[in-house]
């Protein structure tokens, strides 16, 4: 009786270890950044097209359009295109809301949380055309001197239309 008992314990331990490892692997990494780190992307001279989508877990239209950005990142996987999903949730909600959301949706794009609650001090620095409403999306390629800012929810059709007609991102 003893041996199988030990075996059972060992088995349980193994299973537990495996599943906890699995959990670690799935754990979403959402760095909390300040404006300076966001500006690092905004000022990048690389010939990379950045798509910065500003969202929050409390913003329903934001949540609805996130799959479109995920699809976009997949569509341009072999090109210098980088989707950044920048959450404007409060930093105190990182573990409670943002990370569970990223895990639940199994988001593949880079997700960052911008911890800058004094909005008036930086909204214009992000884009003067931004009134502050969410969702908002900025497309830019500094090497190509291309920039497009949109302050409204995007559908896949709108997204493709903007990218092809207002922004020279070819599929």
């Amino acid at each position: 009786m003893r041996v199988p008992g030990n075996l059972l314990v060992a088995l349980c331990l193994l299973v537990g270890l495996a599943s906890s490892r699995g959990a670690v692997a799935q754990n979403a990494h959402v760095p909390v950044i300040k404006l300076a780190q966001l500006q690092h992307y905004l000022n990048s001279s690389a010939d990379t097209t950045y798509i910065i989508n500003l969202w929050a877990t409390w913003c329903k239209p934001c949540i609805e359009e996130i799959p479109h950005f995920e699809a976009l990142q997949k569509q341009y996987a072999n090109q210098p295109v980088k989707v950044l999903l920048v959450s404007l949730d409060f930093a105190k909600d990182l573990d409670k809301k943002v990370i569970p959301f990223v895990q639940r949706r199994q988001l593949k794009s880079t997700v960052l949380l911008l911890d800058e609650p004094d909005y008036n001090s930086w909204i214009d620095a992000f884009d003067p055309a931004w009134s502050g409403a969410l969702p908002a999306t900025l497309f830019f390629n500094n090497a190509k001197q291309q920039r497009l800012f949109v302050e409204k929810p995007l559908t896949p059709a709108l997204l493709q239309e903007y990218l092809s007609t207002k922004f020279s991102l070819k599929p």
Partner: protein, 209 residues
């Protein structure tokens, strides 16, 4: 050369028209005169700015039932009203969201929210969204302070946020709305007449098919 002149004039007038259309689309700027409106209050009565004869102005706030970010400011709006309505600046809340696009913002739901939160201020529904467009509000919350001029007009004195920390009222370092109201009451120029903050996008009616 002379023949080209009418063309130039035409181009200039088209340009002027386009520019004015763009300005109109952007809504009120600080210093503009706001047109009075008549909207339905949660108490079932219609309300206009001219109704309160002793008002020195208003704190017109675009807010709604469904935006969690706007809800963070409900208690602060109540406090603002309680402090400044006796001084002549009551809060008037306007729900700009289209009911079909956002069912939680129906008139009945507005009545329920006003009752649950015991709103001491008017909570109006902008069913046609015309007032919201005229103001140029883009998000909830979005606040406009109007001052009544000696001619009885409503001059836009401040546009923006109530304060600079939505998440934590304890950590507020700039009370934009209170500062503006205090300046108006003291007959002093407002130091900061325009601020930006994040908020929920206004849920516009889908264009008629």
């Amino acid at each position: 050369m002379q023949r080209q002149f009418p063309l130039l004039l035409l181009l200039l007038s088209v340009f002027a028209l386009l520019t004015s259309a763009m300005v109109a689309q952007n809504g009120y700027q600080v210093g503009d005169v706001a047109t009075d409106f008549t909207l339905k209050n949660v108490n079932g009565q219609m309300m206009s700015l001219k109704d309160q004869k002793n008002a020195k102005g208003y704190v017109v706030t675009f807010t709604c039932n469904t935006c969690p970010f706007a809800k963070l400011y409900e208690d602060r709006l109540i406090q603002l009203h309680q402090k400044y309505a006796p001084l002549g600046y009551p809060v008037v809340a306007i729900n700009p969201n289209d009911v079909t696009a956002s069912p939680g913002d129906s008139f009945e739901q507005m009545q329920k929210r006003a009752k649950d939160k015991k709103f001491p201020f008017a909570y109006l529904q902008d069913e046609s969204q015309e007032v919201t467009k005229r103001f140029g509000a883009t998000r909830t919350p979005h606040l406009y302070i109007l001052q009544k001029t000696s001619q009885g007009q409503w001059k836009v004195a401040y546009i923006g946020a109530l304060d600079n920390n939505a998440g934590d009222p304890e950590k507020v370092t700039e009370r934009y709305a209170e500062n503006a109201l205090n300046s108006l009451l003291a007959n002093q120029p407002i130091a900061q007449t325009f601020t930006k903050a994040i908020g929920c996008t206004i849920k516009w009616r889908a264009s008629a098919q």
